[in-house]
Subunit: 255 residues, 2 copies
């Protein structure tokens, strides 16, 4: 597998035709059928006019109250609440919410780095649709199927540090189900769903440091399966999740 940055993307502005720009660069750089393009959420959001000037926001009473508790700007808290289904955890200045898309992350994924002063950047409204638009243009430019993954950096429960994950997927299967395959001892495998879209997103994270300026990364020579895609497969349903809801610990302390 080769992981390489797609060079040449200019600074993106609201309304730019990002799919066309990425498709053109892909043709030049030699992106091939079967490759996967990882696209940083930031450029997608910028192109899709998701940059918001904080001074333009009138915070709700709820936002004012939560701003007091968290020490965050009321306008930012208002946007976080607007972008979320619910706030899952609040401690000090930390707000972990479930976005309308179903992502569980800090501050509804709203980011203030690499944007003009006084502005913040919201996640794309429908990152799967963003991925599909890029996918269609790039596939057409290179003459064959590619996979496209929109990525963002998330914190994790239990583990420190941020990791790049998939928030939109097009043109490929996001989770490979190995159940039914035989292991090397000839026994049938169970419980081996491989989150390949997140593995690829994490690879791209090697190039997508916040100060790096790399917004599109290509993975070549990787085996993916053709499919419409969709990030929904990667999101655990609340009723199957043992941690979001405040389930009590099992209460078994071991010897």
């Amino acid at each position: 597998v080769r992981v390489w940055p797609l060079a040449g993307l200019p600074e993106i502005h609201p309304g730019d035709d990002l799919p066309a720009q990425i498709a053109e660069l892909s043709g030049v750089a030699g992106v091939a059928a079967g490759d996967v393009l990882l696209v940083a959420q930031k450029v997608v959001s910028k192109a899709e006019r998701r940059l918001v000037e904080l001074a333009s926001v009138t915070p709700s009473a709820e936002a004012l109250a939560l701003a007091e508790v968290t020490g965050k700007r009321p306008q930012l808290v208002h946007l976080i609440l607007s972008e979320s289904r619910q706030v899952l955890r609040q401690r000090g200045g930390t707000l972990i919410t479930e976005t309308h898309h179903g992502f569980i992350c800090a501050n509804a994924g709203i980011d203030a780095s690499n944007v003009p002063a006084g502005h913040v950047l919201l996640l794309p409204r429908d990152p799967d649709a963003s991925a599909r638009r890029i996918q269609a243009r790039v596939a057409s430019a290179v003459g064959g199927r590619v996979g496209v993954i929109i990525t963002d950096t998330h914190g994790r429960a239990f583990r420190r540090g941020l990791i790049n994950v998939a928030i939109g997927v097009a043109g490929m299967v996001p989770i490979i189900d190995h159940r039914g395959e035989l292991d090397r001892e000839g026994r049938v495998l169970v419980a081996t769903d491989q989150a390949i879209a997140d593995e690829l997103a994490a690879c791209a994270g090697l190039y997508m440091g916040k100060a790096s300026g790399v917004a599109v990364v290509v993975c070549s020579d990787v085996a993916t399966q053709s499919a419409p895609g969709g990030v929904g497969e990667l999101l655990r349903k609340p009723e199957h999740d043992l941690f979001r809801g405040g389930d009590s610990p099992a209460g078994i302390v071991c010897g």
Copy 2:
């Protein structure tokens, strides 16, 4: 970045000198100073005699009770409890525990695939030490610093599918702290700890499918920082974790 499987590792048996085998293959295959080796937990555990025959285990009363509830074999439950500090969640046949190392994962990381019938494989006792032993031998063989990461596949809170993560780290910094760097607008970055060891582990997951037989993957042309390593940096302290302990949801449902 190039991600490539290290070819030629034979089936590993208890007591094998795995560091020497990997070092020899690394020299042959052209592993270079600065590369990172990702080594699947499975071969480390096998070499370190962590294969256990279930019939040799006498389950405790607690294990018998929990086996009844979960439908798992009592001997397996006994081992899961022995390898854990506590059981964090139990639902149906699912047991999420915190291992003695501090990893939060299903079944204390104990695996029954790719091992002889009637046996299971425990995690290495000290995966950082395992990584250091491999690191020292490979560094010596290639004549310069390498990074070594022992990896395992974990499920995640909130997201479906398994992803390869670091459970032991040597020779490199596991989390890169970008705080204090400037973003492209010239403002100081905050909250940008990059879990590079987990990103690299996820890359290796592209080759380490359960049926693939690939146990060692090399990442070349990747920028890491020299350090003793240690997976502890990647583990969030319980008091800083908002999800393990059954914290109540913040109770804010958004409009």
